[in-house]
């Protein structure tokens, strides 16, 4: 319940909107206060002035036509909105499908990329391993090759053998020479024990 002042109550009464209880109080107040009565009359005249502004008048036929036109317009717009929503839904579906296909394609590309990277890495590892093995083999091969010392010893060996063949009797009678040859033979047999001579045809 809103408490009204005099002008508000007068305006509502002149407008025909005042409740009966408040109206009774207003008229009782105006009976006692002529100034309030004058104010009420002024507000009534002001409102009448507003009401004197003409409204557009329509014949019954015009009214019917306009009502029909408005309803038809509303239905037309509703149909248009429905069509637009349908079209929008269709586009959204197409968009979602394309997005799905794109996502699957992207996922495939990523998987393929990862596979290629993985494969390349494993190939690199394999190549490194082969290189390491080859290097190890090379190292072993170079370790098995006769050194210059071995070759020198072999030369000495060969020379001794030649010498023994050439001077068999004289040399064997020489005591010192015999001792030297036995030392060399021991040396050779010891070397062969430690380092067996390479087989023919090997590196």
């Amino acid at each position: 319940m809103t408490r009204l002042n005099l002008s508000e109550a007068c305006l509502l009464e002149a407008s025909g909107e005042l409740g009966s209880a408040t109206r009774q109080r207003l008229y009782a107040h105006m009976e006692k206060h002529p100034e309030a009565q004058r104010q009420f009359e002024q507000i009534k005249r002001d409102l009448s002035l507003l009401r004197s502004i003409p409204k557009r008048q329509m014949t019954e036929e015009t009214r019917q036509k306009l009502a029909t036109s408005i309803k038809a317009g509303i239905r037309k717009k509703l149909r248009q909105i429905e069509r637009e929503e349908l079209s929008c839904r269709r586009w959204r579906m197409i968009y979602n499908s394309l997005a799905g296909v794109s996502a699957v394609a992207a996922a495939l590309i990523i998987v393929a990329g990862l596979w290629v990277i993985n494969r390349s890495a494993s190939q690199n590892r394999e190549r490194d391993r082969v290189l390491a093995v080859r290097k190890a083999i090379d190292g072993m091969i170079s370790a098995d090759r006769p050194s210059s010392v071995d070759e020198a010893l072999q030369d000495v060996n060969d020379s001794i053998d030649d010498y023994q063949n050439q001077t068999s009797t004289v040399a064997l009678q020489d005591k010192d020479m015999h001792q030297l040859l036995s030392v060399l033979a021991t040396l050779r047999s010891e070397r062969d024990e430690i380092m067996p001579p390479p087989e023919p045809g090997s590196l």
Binding site: E8, S48, L49, R51, P54, I70, G73, K77, I81
Partner: protein, 196 residues
């Protein structure tokens, strides 16, 4: 139409009853159109705005919870649409009382609403009516809106307060002030006419 009848109509509309829609449009279109026509001064634009108002009602009615404020809601939509339509256009409206619809021509005419007294004498002359309309246009927008809703939309002050979302006391105070200004402007206009 009383609140109960409106509530029943609205629930039928929410259920998709087409005849209820027609009844709802029939119940309100004239008041909406009267207000829109007076504010815009253009019958075709007024018709569009009324259609748009009902269209928004259709779209939002599913979520609408009726608490006896349907009329205020309806007019609030229209008032906002009129405002949004562009004040610059409304300042220089295209006056037209003709609507072309599906090849048909609908025409409206002005009529002196009632033989009621002006400040001092009845409004018999066309000049008085013109002067009054000019005076109305000179009022501040908020004040003019209240008077127009009261007169052209036949809306009670209580509903105007709901429509504009402000207290009834504020609406009454502004209406009282606006009516006083209107009277003063008309008195000045009368004095000028008499001195000529």
């Amino acid at each position: 139409m009383d609140a109960r009848a409106i509530a029943e109509l609205l629930s039928r509309c929410q259920a998709g009853d087409q005849t209820a829609w027609d009844a709802l449009v029939d119940a309100y279109w004239q008041r909406l159109f009267g207000y829109a026509l007076r504010v815009t001064g253009n019958a075709e634009l007024a018709q569009d705005l009324v259609q748009e108002t009902f269209l928004r009602i259709v779209q939002r009615l599913g979520k609408y919870d009726d608490q006896g404020k349907f009329e205020a809601w309806l007019f609030r939509i229209l008032v906002n649409l009129v405002r949004d339509h562009g004040r610059s256009r409304l300042r220089h409206p295209t006056q037209s009382t003709v609507i072309e619809s599906d090849g048909e021509r609908i025409e409206m005419t002005d009529e002196l609403a009632a033989k009621v007294p002006a400040p001092h004498e009845p409004l018999h002359h066309r000049e008085d009516v013109d002067a009054l309309q000019v005076a109305l246009r000179k009022l501040p927008e908020g004040d003019r809106q209240i008077l127009m809703l009261r007169h052209f939309a036949d809306m009670p002050f209580k509903d105007i307060a709901r429509t504009l979302n402000c207290p009834i006391g504020t609406v009454l105070a502004r209406a009282h002030r606006a009516l006083g200004k209107l009277r003063s402007m008309m008195e000045v206009s009368h004095d000028k006419t008499e001195s000529q």
